[in-house]
């Protein structure tokens, strides 16, 4: 059986015009799933989802109840006034996007930072160093963000609202998948690599192109020549997404402030000999300040004293 046949079977069943065989297939599907579900004991394995869904339902329920439980003995004129105000509020609410431009957030990483951002639809984006991501406080219909630099996107599936990444040279369209976009504007190459799902890429070159990529494929756009190609069987590198800070031959006088900024601590280092030494390496998101300090003190034989959020290096 192929996809089209299944589609027809499902469609016929929903429309109530299945053949005997088609009906039997769907009913067997139900029967087997039910039997498998009956076999599965409830040991609280889905409790997290259970609580989440109940919360969602309650939100809907309370909204409905609140509307119903409004006191009915208002005077006639008060009703009219209330209706007018309500009408105005509803209209204002409906047109709020036209009245006020959407509020945008901008997240920027410097040359040492890697940052994880959670979007309003709970998709996650990991921004690599020297990147900038711009997204609205709330998505209305189409989900659209602007990127400069490199980022890994893990997009929550929503067939009704496609997700669009606008970069300097590329535009990426998806419904829900994970992929890497690297388009810094000034770099020679702009890339889109797909980790899961399907991704559509539009490139603005001499001849604007549009391609659909599958997992393991990478779209490469040579900026100056305005040409694009698709590479296959690429291991999309997302190792960097686990990182927090990345340093390459960076003087400690720069490393310390970067750590301080990311981990919200204060670091004092007055020894100029120490500050001149350079550090190469990266710290991961799961590393806490103690581990980072331990790594640095072992690497350079430093004496580090921590009191509250103040750290002194000698």
């Amino acid at each position: 059986m192929h996809l089209q046949r299944l589609k027809k079977i499902v469609g016929n069943y929903l429309a109530g015009r299945s053949s005997t065989t088609e009906k039997a297939i769907i009913e067997q599907w139900f029967k087997e799933a039910k039997a498998a579900a009956d076999e599965e004991a409830d040991i609280g394995q889905y409790n997290e989802r259970k609580a989440l869904v109940l919360n969602n339902i309650k939100a809907v329920m309370q909204h409905g109840v609140a509307r119903k439980s409004r006191a009915p003995e208002l005077h006639y004129l008060r009703w009219v006034a209330a209706a007018c105000i309500l009408g105005f509020v509803v209209v204002a609410y409906m047109f709020r996007d036209r009245i006020t431009p959407p509020v945008m957030y901008t997240v920027v990483t410097d040359q040492y930072q890697v940052k994880e951002v959670v979007l309003p639809d709970s998709s996650t984006v990991v921004l690599n160093v020297n990147s900038r991501l711009c997204y609205p406080v709330k998505f209305n219909g189409k989900r659209s963000v602007t990127l400069s630099g490199e980022a890994f996107f893990d997009i929550r599936k929503n067939p009704d609202a496609r997700f669009v990444v606008n970069a300097s040279h590329l535009q990426v369209n998806v419904l829900g998948t994970s992929f890497v976009v690297s388009d810094a504007g000034i770099a020679e190459m702009a890339l889109v690599g797909v980790k899961t799902g399907r991704v559509q890429v539009n490139a603005s070159g001499k001849q604007p192109s549009s391609s659909v990529l599958s997992p393991g494929q990478q779209f490469v756009f040579a900026v100056r020549r305005g040409e694009s190609k698709i590479e296959n069987n690429i291991a999309i590198n997302t190792d960097w997404t686990a990182q927090l800070l990345v340093f390459r031959d960076t003087p400690l006088s720069v490393v310390f402030p970067a750590i301080a900024k990311s981990l919200h601590v204060r670091i004092v280092s007055n020894n100029s000999e120490i500050n001149k030494r350079t550090f190469t390496g990266s710290f991961l998101k799961e590393d806490n300040i103690n581990e980072i300090l331990k790594i640095l003190s072992l690497s350079y034989g430093l004496k580090i004293k921590q009191t509250g959020d103040l750290i002194e290096v000698n």
Partner: protein, 191 residues
């Protein structure tokens, strides 16, 4: 935790209280049926997220239609029926979006192909049974003794008090009559 309390109230009583907008009764019903419904939807669509959406839709729809809802059968089968319907609708929408091709090819189509395959096999066995029952009674008996009970020709001859040659002749008649169905079954079971 809530299981002790739900047993005090039958599903029908819960539904009556829900019809009177009793949120606590709704909560009890939810806790009672969350697991079987979620698990059912998950086995159907092989996705926890989809199963979650489906159960949520079903319960919200019950609450929203509580005043007009008329449940003919048991609450349990009503809820299962609702999950079946929502799952089918979900499957239909999955099948219409190219985004999900991989998931359908890898997880959903094999399930349906497996079902279809087994159904075809069963049809053939049924047809074979039907053809066997169409044979003369004596031939039928000898054939079943030979194939189903795995008796040798000598054993059958001894058991029925007939000559071995008669048994051979009868088996030959049976196999000749059934060869078409048997061939198809052999071909299918090899695949």
């Amino acid at each position: 935790m809530s299981a002790g309390r739900t047993t005090e109230l039958s599903d029908t009583e819960l539904m009556i209280r829900i019809q009177h907008s009793d949120m606590e009764a709704f909560s009890l019903l939810y806790h009672q049926y969350w697991h079987p419904l979620f698990s059912f939807a998950h086995k159907l669509l092989r996705s926890y997220d989809d199963a979650q959406d489906i159960v949520q839709t079903v319960f919200i729809s019950i609450w929203e239609r509580r005043e007009t809802i008329a449940i003919q059968q048991s609450v349990e089968s009503y809820l299962h029926q609702a999950v079946r319907f929502q799952s089918l609708k979900k499957l239909e929408s999955l099948l219409s979006s190219p985004e999900n091709i991989d998931r359908i090819q890898e997880e959903l189509l094999p399930t349906f192909n497996d079902i279809l395959h087994r159904m075809q096999e069963q049809d053939l066995l049924k047809q074979l049974e039907k053809e066997i029952s169409g044979l003369p009674p004596r031939t039928q008996e000898i054939f079943l003794l030979s194939r189903q009970y795995r008796l040798s020709i000598a054993e059958i001859a001894l058991k029925l008090g007939i000559s071995e040659q008669t048994v051979k002749n009868q088996l030959h008649i049976a196999l000749k009559a059934l060869r078409h169905s048997i061939a198809i079954i052999l071909i299918c079971s090899v695949n």
